[in-house]
């Protein structure tokens, strides 16, 4: 089983930080000192005992906003990642195993979508769609699923030509055995590490959209939106906007560290034994 002492320190830091963010998101109403929208003081009060991170551009408690912000950020990023992953992986695997026109059409479509930067495509689409959470998750998930599709298709195509898959086909095994027992277990480790990267990308993409004013709409705010709310303070030397920005960076780095470690662990082919 998992032995804590054998986890390398960077991964441990990653796990602890990620867990902190997740806990903050889950228990936001119970642990945040104030309500999300409650105005508790002056505009941009400095850090104090009453307000650990100071107050924001409307005089709301920044720490409470950060905790609720974690909730929205993680919620949208997790759903978008789940969507992009299930969509991309299922289509990618199917394309690799079935091949033919199904593969050709999907692959060309993905090539097309990937020939423009995701942010530009996202902006173009968001210019006509109503701004709400569902649209946001759908747009993020679908645009990002192209990358998952490419990876899972490539991985599955590689495995599909291995001798052990051929051996299974010669034995007369059906598609279900081949996909779930031969291909999937071997595709898992690159996919799991990709899951981490896709999640980080979703967090960064969401933050960017919100920062540009096209993501989560006020009065709710994710961390990217909070940077936007507080950015005018920077020129007065008020660093409130840097706190949510740093939180995004910290979350991204910690997930990266965990993903790195998981990849190293699962690529060892001895069933995790030594």
């Amino acid at each position: 089983m998992l032995d804590i002492k054998r986890i390398p320190i960077p991964a441990l830091i990653g796990i602890v930080l990620t867990a902190l963010f997740v806990l903050a998101a889950l228990f936001a109403p119970w642990i945040s000192p104030h309500d999300n929208a409650e105005i508790v003081g002056d505009v941009w009060e400095p850090i104090s005992a009453a307000h650990w991170l100071g107050t924001d551009n409307l005089g709301r408690d920044l720490l409470s906003r950060m905790i609720y912000g974690a909730r929205i950020t993680l919620f949208i990023a997790v759903l978008a990642t789940a969507l992009s992953f299930s969509l991309g992986a299922i289509l990618g695997f199917s394309a690799a195993v079935f091949g033919g026109w199904f593969d050709t059409i999907l692959s060309r479509l993905v090539d097309l979508l990937m020939s423009i930067p995701t942010l530009i495509m996202g902006l173009v689409v968001l210019s006509v769609l109503p701004t709400n959470l569902v649209t946001l998750i759908l747009v993020m998930g679908i645009l990002d699923s192209t990358r998952v599709y490419r990876l899972s298709r490539a991985v599955a195509v590689d495995i599909n030509v291995m001798d052990y898959v051929e051996a299974a086909k010669l034995r007369g095994e059906g598609s279900a055995w081949i996909i779930f027992r031969e291909i999937l277990p071997n595709a898992l480790s690159p996919l799991i590490s990709e899951l981490g990267l896709r999640f980080i990308y979703a967090v960064l993409f969401l933050s960017t959209l919100s920062f540009l004013g096209l993501g989560v709409q006020p009065p709710d705010a994710d961390w990217g939106g909070m940077v936007k709310e507080n950015k005018d303070g920077i020129v007065f030397g008020i660093g409130a906007a840097l706190i949510p920005a740093a939180a995004i960076a910290a979350l991204a780095i910690s997930v990266n560290l965990v993903a790195d470690w998981v990849l190293n662990r699962t690529t060892s082919l001895k069933g995790g034994r030594g």
Binding site: A167, L170, G172, P185, L269
Partner: protein, 551 residues
């Protein structure tokens, strides 16, 4: 010729060489392993010393140490390497640079990878000569052209203008030898120079190398795993195992009167007792006039092939790369449905396509692959791998299945302890054994063996062949044995089909196929297989009637 008694200082004198490397196993602390344990050797001017051993014997590492070079983290940590009277290990980086390419040159296993794709051959051949300033460009190029001629390269005047990808593998290997000879070094390290070549090409390259060594009086370290090859070119042979010296002596002594058991095993590796069985009355599997092609019929790889397989016997299919021998296996298994012709099994035709064959037919034909590593799912344990055919074909589960798996492990001479192991935890030979057990589990009538021993070290391969023969006696299973190695064929086949460019050029019982008169290709093939006999190479070259197939 130096008189044996004069005892001039040797060209190369390696004393108590110790080589270590740091390895980084994933998830563990880095550790230092010793690759070469206190090995000593001497080499006189103009002599050839063969270094022989299995993979991991440290032979390449020792060879490269004569140039002060260690691959990827390999360090010389003890001993002396005395070249032309001085210890090169004391010369530092600058000293190494001065001797590399001038006193000592290197010929790699894969010349295709060792030539820079971005430069013309001539520029690379004369590069070391010019760098060390031993000749002008014009002189060096003249020398190179002369060497190209000596090594019987086609168009010696112009071949230097070509780029590496424009020249075949066997020719590149000779150009690389010319490159090593061009700067007129005292010593050349040949690192498995013919291993990657087809057997009929190997003999040409080998003979070219031998002539060049003789005419230029260069000394050489000749590294290989093939004792028969090294016996043709060496004056002395040194046998290595696990980085230690096993035996060192004259070529004749090593191959005729080996003193160590290990050497003896290497020498007699191909001597397997197998009495040829006469073909029975009716074959159970017949391939009739099969033609198959890739790319929708464009590339014909099998042309009108017919062979028969008799119960409990072995048909060996021999050929070089591109002869279509593996394609024949794919056609029989239904992976590549034939365009014309039929495969009959037990008197009835087999469906062409794999998908159209009933489970029972699939069970009767099993397959073993060349690379055992990739023929087993790395995420399944040995128990699952061997047990799956039992479940799949016979519905045997639970304790009964475990019992059968244990029996099968016993049959392949591996203990019960392996049931829970993953393939990555097995050695190369053990992996291949598990693959054999997996195919046996189906209780088939025929096992197709596709180059099953060519990725293994000779002794391990020998063990696998013996196992296969034993199993054949017990289980009465037939083999279709695909290989490029005639020595293997001689030891285990009952009948032989020789393939060349998609056609069967000679077919019949082993004794018939191996008895003259031969057709031109079989003659070439047979005469190209190195024999453990001094002077074989010269005889073989003299007796050849057909130019090598690969050139």
């Amino acid at each position: 010729m130096t008189d044996g008694k004069a005892k001039s200082t040797p060209l190369l004198d390696i004393r108590n060489l110790r080589i270590e490397a740091t390895v980084y196993p994933p998830g563990e602390a880095p550790k230092t392993i010793t690759l070469v344990h206190d090995v000593s050797l001497t080499l006189e001017k103009g002599k050839v010393l063969g270094l022989i051993g299995e993979s991991g014997a440290g032979k390449s590492t020792i060879g490269l140490s004569s140039m002060g070079y260690g691959r990827g983290g390999v360090r010389i940590t003890g001993g002396e390497v005395i070249l032309n009277g001085r210890d090169i290990l004391k010369g530092g980086k600058e000293g190494f640079r001065k001797l590399r390419g001038r006193e000592v040159c290197y010929v790699a296993q894969s010349a295709a990878a060792a030539f820079n794709p971005a430069h013309r051959l001539m520029d690379q051949v004369v590069e070391a000569t010019l760098l060390h300033g031993t000749a002008t460009r014009a002189e060096a190029e003249k020398r190179a052209v002369a060497l190209f001629k000596k090594l019987s390269l086609p168009n010696p005047e112009t071949i230097g203008e070509r780029f590496p990808h424009q020249v075949s593998g066997g020719q590149l290997q000779r150009v690389m030898t010319a490159m090593a000879l061009c700067s007129e070094p005292d010593l050349i390290v040949f690192d498995e120079p013919t291993t990657a070549l087809d057997v009929t090409t190997q003999i040409d390259v080998l003979s070219a190398i031998k002539d060049a060594i003789r005419d230029t009086h260069v000394a050489a370290l000749y590294i290989t795993h093939d004792l028969a090859v090294v016996a043709q070119v060496s004056d002395e042979i040194m046998v290595l195992r696990h980085g230690r010296l096993v035996e060192w002596g004259g070529t004749r002594q090593i191959i005729k009167e080996p003193r160590q058991e290990y050497t003896n095993a290497l020498v007699s590796v191909h001597e397997i007792e197998h009495a040829e069985q006469n073909p029975g009355a009716t074959p159970f599997l017949s391939v009739k006039n099969v033609t198959a092609a890739y790319g929708g019929g464009h590339v014909k790889v099998l042309k009108n092939v017919s062979v028969d397989i008799y119960p409990g016997q072995t048909l060996a299919v021999v050929g070089e790369s591109g002869s279509g021998k593996s394609t024949l296996a794919r056609a029989i298994t239904g992976l590549l449905p034939p365009e014309q012709g039929t495969v009959t099994f037990d008197g009835r035709p087999l469906a062409n396509r794999l998908a159209d064959r009933p489970k029972e037919d699939l069970r009767q034909l099993q397959m073993i692959y060349q690379m055992a590593d990739v023929a087993m799912n790395p995420r399944q344990t040995v128990g699952t791998i061997i047990g799956r055919p039992l479940e799949f074909y016979f519905g045997i589960r639970g304790r009964e299945r475990d019992r059968r798996v244990a029996e099968l492990l016993d049959e392949i001479e591996m203990g019960k302890g392996f049931v829970d192991r993953y393939p990555a935890e097995l050695s190369g030979g053990q992996k291949q054994r598990v693959c054999i057990a997996r195919s046996l589990a189906a209780k088939p009538k025929l096992i197709i063996c596709d180059e099953v021993t060519s990725a293994l070290d000779p002794l391990v391969a020998n063990g696998i062949l013996k196992l296969l023969l034993n199993l054949q006696q017990h289980e009465k299973v037939a083999y279709l044995f695909i290989t490029h190695d005639l020595a293997t064929v001689k030891s285990i086949a009952d009948s032989i089909a020789v393939m060349y460019r998609g056609e069967v050029v000679r077919y019949g019982s082993k004794s018939k196929v191996l008895t003259p008169p031969f057709d031109a290709y079989t003659d070439l093939l047979l005469s190209s297989v190195p024999e453990m006999e001094i002077g074989w190479l010269e005889k073989a070259i003299k007796g050849r009637r057909m130019a090598s197939a690969g050139n």
